[in-house]
């Protein structure tokens, strides 16, 4: 069976900076794939290309054998690709519950007219969506905060709310951009448990970007290592841990840095 997501020599540059140069990888159904690499390696750029936030990449990204090239971000979301953000992008003014409600409602066909008149159908749909959102809120353990504006939640809870919002989309592919950033050891452990239960319950294919090797090693089946916009290694967590090139990229041997500066 063809992979769920396939990046084929994807390149992206900003002015003279080559954020990605010819990155290729495959993500199979049911897999939890890790994408690691030092800062500026191009991990978030890759996410932005996959979700259509940066539409002007070169190369191809296939999802379910379909080229995503001309699809807008919301159209890609409708193909059940969900993501979280490194710098939390919650809807701060909306309550936690409404944050989870939003992806559910974005998919419904209800429009402005129904809302203006508040037709019975609208009210019925809204109730149903609220039930689903509430269930999700309990799953991510934020049941107590339904009415709290998302912007008022502590960072740890905001991270979980973002995961919940992505899950509300009922994704087949879940992209997590540094879900562990800014969390302490206890929160990271909780997050790892949450992600494990997400995988068990939603059967979702995941692509995770993070610096936290412990987190990545713990939940990923397979890992790609990016450096300077290129894939420098690929393999199981054990293989990656022992790969000399990876160690060099992370610990920053002099030649590697010089090459990066020139690019």
């Amino acid at each position: 069976m063809a992979p769920l997501l396939q990046a084929d020599t994807v390149s992206m540059s900003f002015g003279g900076v080559h954020a990605l140069s010819g990155v290729s990888f495959e993500l199979h159904r049911g897999e939890t794939l890790g994408l690691i690499g030092p800062n500026g390696a191009g991990k978030t750029t890759m996410f932005n290309c996959i979700t259509g936030v940066l539409p002007s990449y070169r190369g191809h990204i296939y999802y379910d054998d379909r080229d995503l090239r001309n699809l807008k971000p919301h159209q890609r979301a409708r193909l059940k690709i969900a993501r979280t953000f490194q710098n939390l992008e919650l809807f701060d003014e909306l309550s936690a519950l409404d944050n989870l409600l939003l992806p559910l409602e974005a998919f419904s066909q209800r429009g402005v007219i129904g809302d203006l008149l508040r037709l019975p159908r609208t009210v019925f749909d809204e109730r149903q969506a609220q039930e689903k959102a509430r269930a999700m809120l309990h799953f991510i353990n934020l049941g107590d905060c339904a009415d709290t504006p998302a912007g008022d939640l502590p960072v740890g809870l905001q991270r979980r709310l973002e995961v919940g919002r992505a899950l509300s989309l009922e994704p087949r592919l879940l992209l997590l951009d540094e879900p562990g950033a800014g969390l302490d050891a206890r929160e990271t452990a909780e997050l790892a448990r949450l992600l494990a239960s997400v995988r068990a319950r939603f059967k979702v294919t995941m692509l995770i970007v993070d610096h936290d090797m412990a987190l990545i090693m713990r939940i990923c089946n397979r890992i790609y290592v990016l450096d300077n916009g290129q894939v420098i290694a690929e393999g199981s967590p054990e293989q990656i841990r022992d790969d000399p090139q990876v160690v060099r990229a992370y610990l920053g041997e002099a030649p590697a840095i010089a090459a990066g500066g020139a690019g």
Partner: protein
């Protein structure tokens, strides 16, 4: 149509165009200077130029001093006004969104324009301040005569542009200005007196505006409004220079001057220049702000995060709404029919404020062209009923549909623009309507030309609305229905989606929200509401003429919407009442209705500084504190925005599925 002799005018018009361009360049350089250093798009730039030009008029025409003394007085006045604006109304807003600073400059625009109108007459003829003789010389090698005044204007404009560039590049102070422009906080750490640098940029930019104002007086109608809206030309030139490049700004200004002048060779329509400006604004915005990079590199208008209260005291709210409706039905019964009519107009204007509640309150987009949308409704009804004998109701429906259509059209460029640039665009739209589309000679079968459409009141369900009270009750019904609809909108999917877009476009898009469709829908709803108001106003007043839908009213209604609070549906009624009964109240005081925009502008400035959320939400907040309601669900424990406390984390842990 095109007489071949017209082409012979081309060289002469080129000189006129370049001269005009030179003046625009001066105003635009002042604008760019202020924008680069303090980050504020100064909508009052034209008003400052205008007020300073009138100071020159006062000194040299009224008091009889030489024109150069007048110019000096104008420069001093311009600098002083610039200083006052920066020191007392912009500096206190440090750290607030760029949009709130823009709103303050809009307030100043209203204040200065009204004050000048009160002192020197809003529409009276004023003799221009002629600095240099209009006699000239023949340009070498041609037969074109260049006036000394034109020559001086071009030289002064280019000289000041070069001088500003030189100061910015080669002097220490220029360096600190550029440092402040890049990063005020970092500049402060380096020991630069940021406040002083900003004040200097405002003083210098405004003084340049003053020179532009004096120079332009012989070239356009010398009255408060015409000079104030020169700011749009300055913006256009500055936009061509991407609001940063001085040389491109000058080139843009010259181009604009020529583009506005050439149509006059062929067209007697005085508004053709406005149409050109409008087209250029659109074109520049379209070229400079291409799609694709929008989601990542947004030109931030600044976000002001105002948490929406999660709970609402519904029973109390219902009592208040019922009581207000009851009073609204009964009280006008006790009034004369004149006041009943005024009450009806209040509600109609309230609808326009409501249209801004949708656009500004939900989408977070500011608009200064709501009266233009209303005008579409009004003129559709006017021309169809007054001109073609249609019945009122289908005409009103069509008017609303047209308004929605135009709203969506305005919304399309707005998709790519953040608040500030959209504000420029909407002002350009207003001027396009005022000076071109609705001006006599452009489309008389729609605008009625120099005459106005007259039409009678319709009947509703067999009841004639000719009586003042009947019409009032009808507008009350329409208004309440519209308020209910907008309230429905704001608390259901549409409201959530629009708020989500305002909070984070990127997250909304990747959650499956079609940004384009929803923003356009909001523009459509907003324009449709304004169009409905316009149609009602047409039959309410009984006649439609172009003068009724002017630039100043669009600004005033936007100002009022911001003052009373664009996030509150209830604010619409308060805003409408204020806008109609405010001028009425003034007739009973020593002041006249002419003072009204000045008062609105002053309140606007004070309000932005004192209660950023708006007056009505501020009251509501106080009210909520006095009558708290039981939350539907317990709120999260008040924890600081760092890590949660260990016991909270421990309490959550057991329900986690262990693998």
């Amino acid at each position: 149509m095109l007489a071949s002799a017209s082409w012979g005018l081309l060289p002469g018009y080129t000189v006129i165009g370049i001269t005009l361009g030179g003046i625009y360049a001066l105003a635009a350089i002042g604008l760019v200077l202020i924008y680069r250093v303090s980050g504020v798009l100064n909508f009052a730039q034209g008003a400052v130029s205008m007020f300073s030009a009138f100071i020159a008029y006062q000194v040299s025409i009224v008091m009889g001093y030489p024109a150069l003394v007048g110019l000096l007085a104008a420069i001093v006045a311009g600098g002083a006004i610039g200083y006052v604006i920066e020191r007392f109304t912009i500096r206190p807003l440090a750290g607030r969104s760029a949009l709130s600073k823009v709103v303050v400059t809009i307030g100043w625009l209203l204040v200065l324009q009204t004050a000048a109108g009160l002192i020197w007459g809003q529409t009276a003829y004023h003799r221009p301040v002629q600095l240099v003789s209009i006699h000239g010389f023949t340009f070498p090698g041609t037969s074109v005569v260049v006036g000394w005044d034109e020559f001086t204007t071009i030289v002064v404009a280019l000289g000041l542009a070069l001088g500003t560039a030189a100061v910015l590049r080669w002097t220490t102070f220029g360096t600190s200005m550029r440092a402040v422009a890049d990063d005020p906080d970092a500049a402060r750490l380096w020991g630069i007196n940021v406040n002083r640098v900003m004040a200097v940029s405002w003083v210098a930019g405004s003084a340049m505006g003053a020179i532009a104002g004096v120079l332009i007086t012989p070239r356009i109608n010398f009255d408060p409004i015409s000079l104030t809206i020169v700011v749009i030309d300055a913006f256009t030139a500055a936009l061509i220079g991407r609001l940063t490049s001085l040389s491109w700004t000058v080139i843009g200004a010259m181009f604009l001057g020529l583009a506005e002048t050439y149509p006059r060779i062929f067209s007697s329509n005085a508004g053709a220049g406005s149409a050109v400006t409008f087209a250029l604004v659109l074109l520049t915005l379209a070229i400079l702000f291409r799609p694709g990079t929008r989601l990542v590199q947004r030109i931030s208008a600044g976000r002001e995060y105002v948490p929406v209260p999660a709970t609402d005291n519904l029973p109390v709210r219902r009592v208040i709404v019922a009581a207000a409706t009851g009073l609204g039905i009964v009280v006008p019964l006790l009034l004369s029919s004149y006041y009943q009519s005024l009450a009806a107009y209040s509600l109609i204007v309230g609808l326009i404020v409501l249209s801004l509640v949708v656009l500004t309150g939900l989408v977070g987009q500011i608009s200064f062209c709501q009266y233009s949308f209303a005008a579409i409704g009004a003129f559709t009804v006017g021309s169809l009923v007054g001109g073609h004998g249609w019945s009122f109701w289908p005409a009103l429906l069509l008017g609303v549909v047209f308004a929605i259509g135009v709203g969506v059209l305005v919304g399309i460029p707005a998709l790519r623009l953040s608040g500030l640039f959209l504000a420029i665009l909407t002002i350009a739209v207003t001027l396009f309507f005022d000076h071109f589309l609705l001006a006599p000679g452009t489309w008389d079968s729609f605008s009625g030309g120099i005459s106005s459409w007259t039409l009678g009141r319709p009947s509703f369900l067999g009841i004639s609305l000719a009586g003042a009270y009947a019409f009032y009750l009808f507008t009350l019904g329409v208004f309440l229905a519209a308020v209910l609809a907008v309230w429905n909108l704001s608390r259901s999917k549409t409201g959530r989606v629009l708020r989500a877009i305002r909070n984070s476009e990127i997250a909304a898009a990747t959650s499956g929200v079609n940004l384009t469709a929803w923003k356009l829908a909001a523009f459509g709803v907003s324009a449709g509401l304004a169009g409905l108001a316009g149609g009602l106003l047409a039959v309410g007043i009984g006649s439609v003429s172009a003068g009724a839908f002017a630039f100043q009213q669009s600004l005033a209604v936007a100002a009022i919407a911001i003052v009373v609070g664009v996030r509150s549906v209830g604010a619409a009624a308060v805003g409408g009442i204020f806008l109609i009964f405010g001028p009425e109240l003034l007739t009973h005081t020593p002041l006249s209705t002419l003072w009204f925009p000045l008062i609105v502008g002053s309140i606007l400035i004070l309000q932005v500084i004192l209660t950023p959320q708006g007056v009505v939400p501020d009251w509501q907040e106080r009210f909520r504190k006095r009558f708290p309601s039981q939350p539907r669900f317990p709120r999260a424990p008040e924890s600081p925005a760092v890590a949660p406390t260990p016991d909270l984390a421990a309490a959550e842990a057991p329900t986690m599925v262990k693998v």
